[in-house]
């Protein structure tokens, strides 16, 4: 986890910087554009370039090492130890690709649907893309926080201006207030971490005493009490964003009142769980272990609660919002299994549920555009009128309830396998939630697509047009592909996940017997050990056998 491969070793140009700032540059150039068609084409091309660039990451990614890759590190605010430091590893790689993919699909989806303030809408989408990618690739805590916070602004405007619900004012403000509260507490946690590093660095290194560098912060030992504080504060930030039950109350509002683009991003891009995996587990390993019972309880409560509420809602979007909360519970139990298979399953599940969740939202968007309502009773028998829609949404629905052969099944299997190793009761409760999930997804599909056509409006509904087919087909294709052949994903994720698990095993309290090496100068430590005849290293060298052992 502490290794860094710099961009110039891997590829000829600073790929991550390009990925982050290309959308913002595009947004700036949109100010000049007046014609809506030109703006649409420009943004579509931009988002496709982004997608291609992120796929380039996938191609050039060195699998088999837990290193941070494509790293760029430029001093930014030197007196406070803040750098422009970005990089990706197996944890963030697929989330970046998912972000660019969903943005591109959202642009296609919005093609002829958004007419009012089109330019501003596209600008918001592009800025949102920048901030989401920035969150995934930042290795400096302040840089991360910058992207994390800026994200609220385009989201606010998206919900507020292009939302469809009557309560969108309220929902937008609630979104900002909840998430801002979580993130300022997270900032406090970051500052404790930063000052802890400072105290350690002053005595150990005697230089470079301030740093927000994620990789540096991993090095400073943390007393258990501080770990618990930091874990709690940082967890609150990610739990709200997640959202983890019981911090979820803003989500249904934002999804119901906001536009489809917002719902896609909220259910597709799992920022909160990424934060837990990236920051909470490695930075505060002992505290994470202590928190397992609490985290499992919260996650399972969310899992069951979300599914139960989804069963009772007659509204498609509300159903998906609560279904999303339930799905997130699955990711969280996987993360806090704290073993390789559980965490890797959770990471895979972030991608899978992102695909399935966003796919469902697109389907709801198609339905709503035709019928103008999310009300379940307004539909019925649609399969007769729109066979293509029915078939593709069947694939997505099956994925959402973890049907074997779909991607979610694999993730769910891994998560449950991981959790079983910890405590079978947790896994048993998790399995029961799968049944509830199947219940609401099937009943929803049945009421919308099956049966007789009861409403004349449904009879007049058309099937998917070509743009919509592209979206639904991409989602369904991904679901089947990952479901049948997940190895390219798993092989890239595994080293990074293993590094996190190693870290959890080693622990990070001051008296743990791990050798700590100055991240900036690893040789100094080894030389010091060699100079000391009583050091472990010297003893080991002395006792080395004549021939190297194979």
């Amino acid at each position: 986890m502490n290794l860094e491969l710099f961009w110039n070793k891997q590829i000829g140009f600073p790929l991550l910087t390009l990925l982050i700032f290309l959308p913002v540059a595009g947004a700036a150039s949109l100010w000049m554009r007046r014609d809506p068609r030109g703006a649409r084409v420009e943004v579509l091309i931009l988002s496709l370039i982004e997608l291609v660039l992120s796929l380039l990451l996938f191609v050039k990614f060195a699998s088999g090492v837990p290193a941070m890759q494509f790293v760029e590190n430029v001093p930014w605010i030197v007196p406070l130890g803040i750098n422009y430091h970005v990089g990706i590893d197996g944890i963030s790689l697929f989330l970046v690709i998912l972000t660019t993919l969903l943005t591109a699909l959202t642009v296609i989806y919005s093609w002829d649907r958004v007419r009012e303030h089109l330019r501003e809408y596209l600008i918001c989408l592009l800025i949102l893309e920048t901030t989401m990618i920035g969150v995934f690739v930042s290795l400096d805590l302040i840089l991360f926080f910058v992207f994390w916070e800026v994200m609220l602004i385009p989201m606010y405007f998206l919900i507020k201006t292009w939302g469809s619900g009557p309560e969108r004012d309220h929902a937008a403000l609630k979104y900002v207030v909840y998430n801002l509260t979580g993130s300022v507490l997270m900032l406090v946690g970051f500052i404790i971490l930063y000052l802890n590093y400072h105290d350690w660095a002053v005595t150990q290194l005697g230089r470079n005493p301030y740093s927000f560098n994620y990789l540096h912060l991993l090095f400073a030992p943390l007393p258990l009490e501080k770990q618990l504080w930091i874990f709690g504060l940082v967890f609150l930030g990610f739990a709200v964003k997640g959202p983890v039950f019981p911090f979820h109350t803003w989500l249904p509002g934002a999804m119901l009142e906001g536009p489809i683009a917002v719902s896609v991003m909220l259910s597709g891009v799992k920022l909160g769980s990424y934060g837990l995996l990236r920051f909470n587990l490695p930075l505060t390993p002992e505290a994470s272990q202590m928190a397992v019972p609490l985290m499992m309880t919260l996650a399972l409560a969310g899992l069951i609660y979300g599914a139960l509420i989804a069963l009772t809602r007659p509204n498609l979007m509300a159903m998906m919002a609560y279904g999303g909360i339930s799905h997130l519970g699955f990711v969280t139990i996987g993360l806090f299994a704290l073993n390789p298979i559980g965490i890797e399953g959770a990471l895979l599940q972030m991608v899978n549920l992102g695909v399935a969740g966003a796919g469902m939202i697109f389907i709801l968007g198609f339905l709503n555009d035709r019928r103008g309502s999310f009300d379940l009773d307004e539909y019925g028998g649609l399969a007769k009128r729109a066979p293509r829609l029915a078939a593709l949404s069947m694939v997505i629905v099956l994925a959402s309830l973890a049907f074997p052969g779909t991607n979610v099944f694999i993730g769910e299997f891994m998560v449950l396998a991981g959790v079983f190793q910890v405590y079978w009761v947790y896994a048993a409760i998790g399995v029961s939630a799968v049944i509830l999930g199947a219940a609401y997804m099937f009943s929803m599909y049945g009421r919308v697509m099956m049966g007789e056509i009861r409403k004349p409006e449904v009879a007049a509904m058309s099937d998917l047009n070509s743009r919509e087919t592209v979206i639904a087909f991409t989602m369904a294709g991904l679901i089947v592909w990952i479901g049948l052949y997940p190895i390219p994903l798993l092989s890239r994720m595994e080293p990074s996940v293993r590094a996190v698990v190693e870290r959890l095993k080693e622990g990070n309290v001051p008296d743990s017997a791990i050798v700590r090496i100055d991240p900036n100068n690893p040789h100094a430590y080894i030389l010091k050990m060699l100079a000391d005849p009583n050091s472990d290293l010297s003893q080991t060298l002395k006792n080395l056998p004549e021939k190297p052992v194979r």
Partner: protein, 485 residues
């Protein structure tokens, strides 16, 4: 003690900025009444050019690291004082630029406006160098006096007159408290010089406690911290808007120079005895200012309450009472200068056209002037502390300084206040961007106004995106200041 007045050439050189400033304002006054036909705008540009020159001189002094004391330690020039002098001059320059359009509507005494503004600036420049209680009292009154007149400048407007009267009564009251506090401290210690108190390492006697508390109350009035804030909203609303902008930044910054000298330099050794007071006032100011701001209907009152909250944020740095805290205060004041002055500039431009400060009239501003709306968005987001704007780095800096001294609870309160403040800033932004305007007339922005907007927006962005140089300046000023005493 026999008082001998000596001035060496070195002393004159140290005093050169103030001497030049005195010359400049005398020139403006003479030009105004000797040549009544001279354009008032010319006077404005002349003062701005003069102050720009003095600003450069101060920058040179800062780089050279000049320092020294004058008049038997009554008066001190150190990097901290030079920083604040330059800060005040910068504020005055921007306020003058923003006043040019506004004054065209005022029928009489337009030349005197610039004279009084310069006089107030000179008073504050002297104030930040005060090194004993007596020079503190004199310079503080000197600068406040010009403000009494400036606040009541619109003589046909009852609100302005009322504000002037209120400001005067409260100001005189605060001056009384200050004088009383000084007399108590002198009675207890036999000295009035800050550095003497520091050297004495005296334990606090009851008389000194009361004395310093009285001084703190008087200074609390000047910065408008809760519970000494009651005058702020009324006077902000009543005063001419450029004066409000001036009042909301420069005197507060000058008072912080004094607070830094008293608290971190003089009483720094006994931080444990007073830190709870600053912590409490900081927490209450932030929370009260932000909560009351939510329900405001007038943008000047909204900015008044948000200013109270911002002062609470600066006080976090004072509570830290460390070198880092001092640097954080200086940096935060710079971010506050750009964002707050920028916001007031938007208010001035808007009210010049519409004669209204009601928030309702800001509906749909983005359709009438995308420039103003965009600028207001940036200023408000910076005041709220959204990265990557100046306010975020400022807040981060004071938070880190306070956490370094173990003030976790205060930082958490500060964090929660970011959320509260975001709420009302967003309400205004919502009006500006989403509501439909009643009147679709575009809002013209004149050249001087454009200049102020560009400077302030540029400042907010620069301090947010590349704050390295400014953090170094603040840290250098704080560093040398702490070493000097």
């Amino acid at each position: 003690m026999p008082f001998t007045f000596t001035m060496t050439p070195v002393d004159v050189e140290l005093l050169m900025p103030e001497i030049l400033m005195t010359g400049l304002l005398s020139l403006i006054l003479c030009l105004d009444f000797l040549f009544p036909r001279i354009g008032k705008t010319t006077l404005a540009w002349l003062s701005i050019a003069g102050m720009g020159g003095i600003f450069l001189l101060l920058a040179g002094y800062f780089i050279d690291g000049r320092h020294g004391t004058l008049f038997h330690e009554m008066y001190v020039i150190d990097p901290m004082a030079i920083f604040f002098k330059a800060f005040i001059l910068g504020t005055t320059i921007l306020v003058f630029l923003a006043s040019i359009d506004y004054l065209k509507k005022v029928p009489v005494f337009r030349g005197e406006y610039y004279f009084l503004g310069l006089l107030a600036a000179l008073g504050m420049m002297l104030m930040v160098s005060a090194n004993d209680l007596l020079s503190l009292f004199i310079t503080l009154e000197f600068s406040t006096f010009s403000f009494y007149i400036l606040v009541a400048y619109l003589r046909d407007d009852p609100k302005s007159n009322e504000a002037g009267l209120k400001f005067f009564i409260l100001g005189v009251f605060a001056a009384g408290l200050l004088a009383f506090g000084i007399s108590l401290i002198y009675g207890e210690t036999g000295s009035i010089i800050f550095t003497d108190f520091a050297r004495m390492h005296a334990h606090l006697t009851p008389g000194m406690v009361i004395g310093f508390l009285l001084i703190f109350v008087a200074l609390g009035f000047k910065i408008g911290a809760v519970p000494f804030h009651a005058w702020v909203p009324d006077i902000y609303q009543g005063a001419p808007t450029p004066v409000t902008a001036f009042l909301s930044i420069a005197p507060k910054a000058a008072t912080f120079a004094i607070l830094l000298r008293i608290f971190t330099a003089t009483l720094g050794d006994i931080r444990g005895d007073w830190v709870w007071l600053i912590v409490a006032i900081s927490a209450v100011s932030m929370t009260y200012g932000n909560i009351v701001a939510i329900s405001q209907k007038n943008i000047k009152r909204l900015l008044a309450y948000s200013g109270i909250a911002q002062i609470g944020n600066v006080l976090i740095g004072l509570a830290a009472a460390s070198k880092m805290g001092d640097g954080a205060i200086l940096f935060y004041l710079m971010t506050y200068l750009f964002a707050n002055l920028g916001a007031f500039t938007v208010v001035i431009i808007f009210s010049n056209l519409t004669n209204s400060d009601d928030l309702e009239d800001y509906n749909g501003l983005s359709r009438r002037s995308p420039l103003l709306a965009g600028a207001l968005l940036i200023f408000f987001l910076s005041l709220a502390g959204v990265p990557p704007l100046a306010g975020f780095i400022g807040k981060l800096y004071v938070f880190v300084a306070a956490m370094n001294e173990g003030l976790l609870a205060l930082v958490v309160i500060g964090g929660i206040n970011i959320v509260i403040s975001m709420y009302y800033y967003l309400i205004v932004i919502k009006r500006v961007y989403i509501y439909m305007p009643k009147d679709n007339a575009p809002i013209p922005v004149s050249f001087p106004m454009r200049l102020v907007l560009i400077t302030t927006v540029g400042g907010v962005l620069l301090l947010g995106i590349y704050p390295k140089a400014f953090i170094e300046i603040s840290a250098a000023a704080a560093e040398l200041f702490s070493r000097m005493l």
